[in-house]
Every structure is written in structure tokens, then in C-alpha cells.
């Protein structure tokens, strides 16, 4: 069996964030949807996503953040991916990625400016992310 027939995702919860439940749900939802998933769990650093994506030749990195510090934690991620040779790898982020009442359009704009392909607001269903992943990956 050639495992590469499946698209490979690297997922995890970034920063000093220990919210483990949503991460497990995403792992099961993505696996169920036919992806090969490398789950790094909680408290993941940018370097860990990148190292895993290199070894597993991942097709996309999906970052969760639930404690409001996501913007800080994600800063420089795109640049580091480029530096590590992961050219244009799709980067997706979701959860409670910022603190306070902010218009999500603004938040999304900021994450796109940081090089993220997609940013999802709180309460996004896994199906929405899966759909976005297909949009990003199936065109290849």
C-alpha cells in the first residue's frame, strides 16, 4: 500500500496551551475524512510542527489555539516554514485564536497577512475545516 495516496496533515495545539479535547476530536474527524494525520498533541512549538512536516512530507499544517494567545504564537510561522524548505505549505489555524471581542474579519485579515491560508473563528465545525483542506489540497 502506498501511504502517499492519502494527504498528510500535521496537527496540534500551539504554545503554552494544554486544551487536549478539541485536538482529539480533530484527530478523529480528519482521520475519518481520509487524511493521514500526525498529531503532535498539546503545547506544540513552531519548530515541532515543521520538523514533523518535513519527516512526514506533510501536505498541510493545521494549528489549533484555544487560549487567546494564538496570534503571538503563530507569528513567524510562515517564514520559518519557508526557511525549512516547506514552500507554500498550506497553513490553517483555528480555535479561540485571539482574546476579546474583535471582528473576525479583522482577525482573519491579520492571520492572512502572517501567511496563513485559512483562519477559522471559534465554534467552527471540523467539516468546515475538512472542506477547506480539500479546496486547498485537491487542486494539485
Amino acid at each position: 500500500m502506498n501511504q502517499k495516496e492519502k494527504k498528510c496533515l500535521v496537527i496540534g495545539v500551539i504554545g503554552a496551551d494544554v486544551h487536549a479535547v478539541g485536538n482529539k476530536i480533530l484527530y478523529h474527524a480528519f482521520t475519518e475524512a481520509g487524511f493521514d494525520v500526525v498529531n503532535l498533541g498539546v503545547m506544540v512549538s513552531q519548530e515541532e510542527y515543521i520538523a514533523a512536516a518535513i519527516e512526514a512530507d506533510a501536505d498541510a499544517i493545521v494549528i489549533s489555539s484555544l487560549y487567546g494567545q494564538g496570534e503571538l504564537d503563530c507569528r513567524g510561522m510562515r517564514e520559518k516554514c519557508e526557511e525549512a524548505g516547506l514552500h507554500n505549505i498550506p497553513l490553517l489555524v483555528g480555535g479561540n485564536i485571539v482574546i476579546g471581542k474583535q471582528k473576525f474579519e479583522d482577525v482573519e485579515q491579520r492571520f492572512k497577512a502572517m501567511g496563513f491560508d485559512r483562519a477559522f473563528p471559534p465554534g467552527t465545525a471540523p467539516e468546515t475545516t475538512i472542506e477547506a483542506l480539500h479546496e486547498l489540497l485537491d487542486k494539485e
Binding site: C8, A16, D17, G41, E48, A51, I54, E55, D57, Y67
Partner: protein, 457 residues
């Protein structure tokens, strides 16, 4: 009485141990210079004569040997990401009893190849990529290795998708394909590679190193000495059938050129609020500090511990320490008189070698505050609860202050994040039998275990 002879062809000394399987008990030990340059059997014959003076004439029912002569098993390896497949390659090599003389990551450069060619390793281990993961890197490296027409065996144990491609790139050279050392992210699978390393050691390296003449007289297969030590420690820790082991342990061996540290321990997080990071480590773990040793690598100890610290520990002045370090370094055979400045420095050096070696071997714990409260991040093994420290190696077992020196393996408030044992008893391998018991354990695990429990005090 049923005597068995166990031989360790070391880099300097050939060490012989005679045991009686019926008792079971140690009958005697002896040593002679290793004579691998001329005929390995010369040293063995002399050692046997010396042993006979101790034990009387014996009719051996079996002879088993291990070897670290002629440089030991020298390996080089290359992975993809250093912390991932690079680390798995290191674990596989060290656990098979090899010396890792070069470890590379990502794409091998022309400079790397020059180094590899000059070093001419006994085995090269090429890995990289999870199964179905990255193929480009390992294929590139296989082609790079082929370009230097390697006259050493290469084990390919990376992404299975790339295995055939690598074998093709290296066609015409000695190449072996093994299961991936990291088939899935975070899953380490080093046993198949270690079996292959052992096979190659037997078939090729024993001969290449002039050990064949001795190997032919042996009953079992010859193995690398560190592999024998790993076996004995695992047996000592785990026990055998009805005979219980002593439980989890840490072992230290401070030599002239390197410091070897072993741990037989699970070491996984003890509490729920601890997050584990990095690759899972094997129960039987071995690390080798190539820059930490009493003579050839004395500078590494001074560099890391500092001359000031060595002066403080030995009661000498910094100037005197530096002077002696120069002397020891220039004359590695120096054995200082008891009570001399040199002896005081040796104790300080051994203490620091133990501390540095165990600190590098043990895992770390970092405390962080999250929105959910205090959380701990653990990397590597947690050895804090280990109650046994086994001490072996000439510089330690011949010291009268072995316990003091071994104490430096323990937790110290200077580095609170280092997960070293908090409180442990010290067991000293005074008669230097660990490698021999590892050899004996292949056929007689119970006897080997009983002898170790009796002899290590």
C-alpha cells in the same frame, strides 16, 4: 564444577573471567594487553596463563567473547531532521553497542562525504522520512554515498517508499535494507536495524578487525562489548523467571576517552499534568559522551565543568589543576599515586564526568504556567525515582571513594530541571564483570544474574 570462560577483548586489555555454573560463582579474573595488531591470541594466551594462576587448571565447558578492540564498532549515521530520524539513528547505533563517530542530518554535502570517506566507518546507517513521508532527502543521500564508492556496509532504514530507490542508487555496494527506524511520526522501531548491525558485526567486522582467530575458538557469537554490558544491565534490572532483578537502574562507566551512561528505566511522566516532548526513549538506553573522559577527553571535562570547579573539588589551585591536566593529557597512561595531587584531581575529574554524563543522559523537566495552571514539560527520561546506581570502569572501581564519585550522578540543586535520581544506593562492579555476565546471559541468564547480585556491592 562446570567452568565457563568469558573474554572481553578491550581496546587496551583483554579481560578474562572464569565462572562456575554449578555454584554459580565467580572463580577468578585476569587481564593481559590486547594484541590485535599482531595476533589477538597472544594476549589471550597470556591472559589465560594468568587466570590459571588464580583458578588452577580448568576444563572449560564453554567460551564466549565480546570485543571493543581495534576501535570497537565505529558507525556513522545520517537522518533527516536531527531531533527525529537523526535521533532514532543515534539510538539504534548506540543501543547496538556502536560508537557513533559522525551523525549527519538533512542532505549530505560534499564536505560531509569527504569526512565520511576519511573516517571509513565500519557501518553507515542511512535513514530519513516516515513511511510515506519524505523520500527526496534519503534518495539524495543514497546517491551522494554512492558517489564516493563506499567500501563500508550501508544499512538503509528510512521511509519504505524510498528503500528500493536507495538500494538501486547504491547497487554494486554492500547495502542492506531494514524496516524504517521511524515508521510513523514519534514511533521508534530500532530493533530490526540493531539485529542487522549485529549480523554485520559478526560476518564482516570480526574478520576485518583481526578477531577471527579468536572468534573461531568461541562457542557463541562474538558481540560488541557495550552490547554485552547492555544485556547484563537489562537482566540485572528485570530479573529472570523466578529470580527477581534489582529494579530500574542507572549505570555509569567513566573511561579514558569516553563516558558511557546506561539507564534501564521506563522514565515516562509520573503525573497527569506533565506533557512529554520528543521521541520516546528505549527502556534500555545507552548514551556515550565522546568528549568526556579521564585522559584522552580530559579537556572536555575541563571545558564543561571549569578549572575553577575542579580546583574547588580537588583542593588544588587553578594553576595546579591546569598544569596536571596538561600532564594527563600528554601522558594518558598516568596513574597517580594515592594521596597525590594527581589522585585528588582524578577524583574531581571522575565526579564531574559522572555528573555531566548523567545530566546529558537524563531527561529534563520544565515548569510553565498556562491558563490552566502549572504544567510541566518533560523531555527524555525521568530517572528521579531510580534507586540503584551501578558503577563500572577502571577509573571508578579502583578508586577508594567510588561512593562519593557516584553521588554526582544524583540530583543537584544547581540544575533543578535535570531528572537525575534523587536518592540511590551505589553498586560497584569491583571485579569488572558486567560485560562477562552479559555474555554468560545469552545461554545462562539465571547464573549470570545470581553472580551479579552477589558481586555488585
Amino acid at each position: 564444577m562446570k567452568p565457563v570462560l568469558l573474554i572481553d577483548f578491550g581496546s587496551t586489555y583483554t579481560k578474562l573471567t572464569a565462572v562456575d555454573l554449578d555454584a554459580p560463582a565467580l572463580l577468578g579474573t585476569a587481564a593481559a594487553y590486547t594484541t590485535v595488531e599482531t595476533d589477538i591470541n597472544d594476549g589471550l594466551t597470556l591472559g589465560l596463563q594468568r587466570l590459571e594462576e588464580v583458578t588452577g587448571k580448568l576444563d572449560y565447558a564453554g567460551r564466549y567473547a565480546c570485543s571493543s578492540a581495534a576501535g570497537g564498532l565505529r558507525m556513522m549515521a545520517c537522518g533527516l531532521v536531527p531531533e527525529l530520524t537523526g535521533e532514532a539513528a543515534r539510538m539504534a547505533s548506540l543501543g547496538a553497542g556502536a560508537k557513533v563517530i559522525g551523525l549527519y542530518a538533512y542532505q549530505l554535502t560534499d564536505e560531509d562525504l569527504e569526512e565520511i570517506r576519511a573516517a571509513a566507518p565500519d557501518i553507515f546507517l542511512l535513514v530519513g522520512g516516515t513511511d510515506g513521508g519524505n523520500t527526496a532527502n534519503i534518495l539524495h543521500n543514497a546517491r551522494q554515498l554512492a558517489s564516493i564508492a563506499p567500501d563500508f556496509p550501508i544499512i538503509v532504514a528510512g521511509n519504505r517508499t524510498a528503500a528500493a530507490g536507495c538500494a538501486k542508487a547504491l547497487a554494486g555496494y554492500e547495502v542492506y535494507v531494514c524496516e524504517n527506524v521511524m515508521p510513523k511520526f514519534g514511533v521508534v522501531n530500532i530493533a530490526p536495524t540493531q539485529r542487522k548491525i549485529r549480523e554485520i558485526f559478526l560476518q564482516r567486522i570480526v574478520q576485518a578487525k583481526g578477531l577471527q582467530a579468536a572468534a573461531q575458538q568461541m562457542d557463541g557469537e562474538m558481540m560488541p562489548t557495550p552490547a554485552a554490558v547492555l544485556r547484563s544491565l537489562e537482566l540485572l534490572s528485570q530479573g529472570w523467571e523466578e529470580e527477581p532483578g534489582i529494579g530500574e537502574l542507572v549505570a555509569v562507566d567513566v573511561g579514558g576517552a569516553t563516558t558511557d551512561i546506561y539507564s534501564m528505566a521506563d522514565g515516562m511522566p509520573e503525573t497527569m499534568n506533565t506533557v512529554y516532548k520528543g521521541l520516546p526513549e528505549p527502556f534500555a538506553k545507552r548514551t556515550v559522551e565522546g568528549d568526556i573522559g579521564m585522559r584522552y577527553s580530559i579537556r572536555g571535562i575541563v571545558e564543561e565543568a571549569g578549572a575553577k570547579k575542579l580546583a574547588q573539588l580537588s583542593g588544588l589551585t587553578v594553576e595546579r589543576v591546569e598544569q596536571l591536566v596538561d600532564e594527563f593529557s600528554a601522558n594518558p597512561d598516568t596513574v597517580p599515586e594515592p594521596g597525590s595531587d594527581g589522585a585528588a584531581l582524578d577524583k574531581a575529574l571522575a565526579s564531574m564526568a559522572v555528573r555531566i554524563g548523567v545530566r546529558r543522559h537524563a531527561g529534563t523537566m520544565e515548569e510553565t504556567y498556562t491558563m490552566m495552571g502549572k504544567t510541566f514539560v518533560q523531555e527524555g527520561k525521568n530517572l528521579t525515582q531510580i534507586k540503584n546506581i551501578v558503577v563500572t570502569g577502571g577509573s571508578l572501581i579502583h578508586s577508594e571513594e567510588t561512593d562519593d564519585i557516584a553521588g554526582y550522578a544524583l540530583y543537584s540543586p544547581e540544575d533543578p530541571g535535570s531528572l537525575r535520581p534523587r536518592e540511590a544506593r551505589v553498586l560497584v562492579d569491583r571485579r569488572y564483570i558486567l560485560a562477562a555476565m552479559g555474555l554468560l546471559s545469552v545461554t545462562q541468564p539465571q547464573a549470570a544474574l545470581q553472580i551479579m547480585k552477589k558481586e555488585l556491592k
